[in-house]
């Protein structure tokens, strides 16, 4: 069964350092999401791609976060510089959009970031 791949699974870094997360969606899925999930809370959308284009990045802290999906397949989320408050799980999800809006999101295992 196809799955969303993410790496690394765990990342420990010091504040002010740069970190990058990678996501490979399920083959053929045009929509890709990056979420941040603080421990004990629900996922919050950071950025949504449709193919290589950003559909929604209104909640992305653009002074330190960036995301790209250059060829419309895999994606990278970067934080530079990392801050203590960035410690969280970063989830990637993908879906194949439908005209009726009923697509199902498939989530990856996530990258757990700890900023010291």
């Amino acid at each position: 069964e196809a799955e969303v791949a993410q790496s690394p699974r765990y990342k420990i870094t010091e504040k002010s350092q740069a970190v990058a997360f990678w996501c490979d969606p399920i083959s053929g899925h045009a929509t890709l999401y990056w979420y941040r999930q603080i421990l004990g809370q629900g996922p919050e959308l950071l950025v949504q791609f449709q193919d290589e284009s950003v559909v929604d990045d209104s909640q992305l802290p653009k002074d330190r976060f960036s995301a790209e999906r250059l060829k419309g397949v895999d994606s990278t989320l970067k934080i530079q510089p990392a801050e203590l408050g960035d410690s969280a799980m970063y989830l990637c999800a993908s879906s194949q959009p439908t005209s009726g809006g009923q697509e199902t999101q498939y989530f990856g295992p996530g990258t757990r970031l700890l900023v010291l």
């Binding site: 004990g40 999800a93 009923q102």
Partner: protein
């Protein structure tokens, strides 16, 4: 903007018993989808069940069923014959019935199934 509320941060249930998790949402739209996702400890999030707002019939997936009350904007999840493997965080989510619209998640309910 739409919001999703889950008023029960934690719940527990005995194995083989039935438990209901609550979810309410706020929207002025008429066409949308509602979802329940499950996130087991240290494992990835998976879809449990989905409900189309235009359907009056409540969705059912094996031991999982929903009680969808559109007028009350309520979407509860019932788990029958609870199993130890049902222990997880459960998230209620909302999505407009439009191409490309994103999902909004509630804060989650931590369910523990006790032996």
């Amino acid at each position: 903007a739409q919001t999703v509320t889950q008023s029960q941060p934690e719940m527990s249930v005995q194995e083989a018993e039935t438990v209901t998790l609550s979810c309410t949402y706020d929207t002025s739209e008429n066409n949308y989808y509602l979802f329940w996702y499950k996130q087991p400890p240290s494992r990835q999030m998976i879809l449990v069940i989905r409900q189309e707002a235009y359907k009056q019939q409540n969705a059912t997936e094996n031991r999982f069923s929903v009680n969808f009350q559109k007028a009350a904007k309520s979407f509860s999840l019932k788990i029958s014959d609870s199993q130890l493997g049902d222990t997880a965080m459960y998230f209620c989510a909302f999505k407009y019935n439009n191409y490309g619209q994103n999902f909004v998640f509630g804060p989650g309910t931590r369910l523990s199934v006790l032996p």
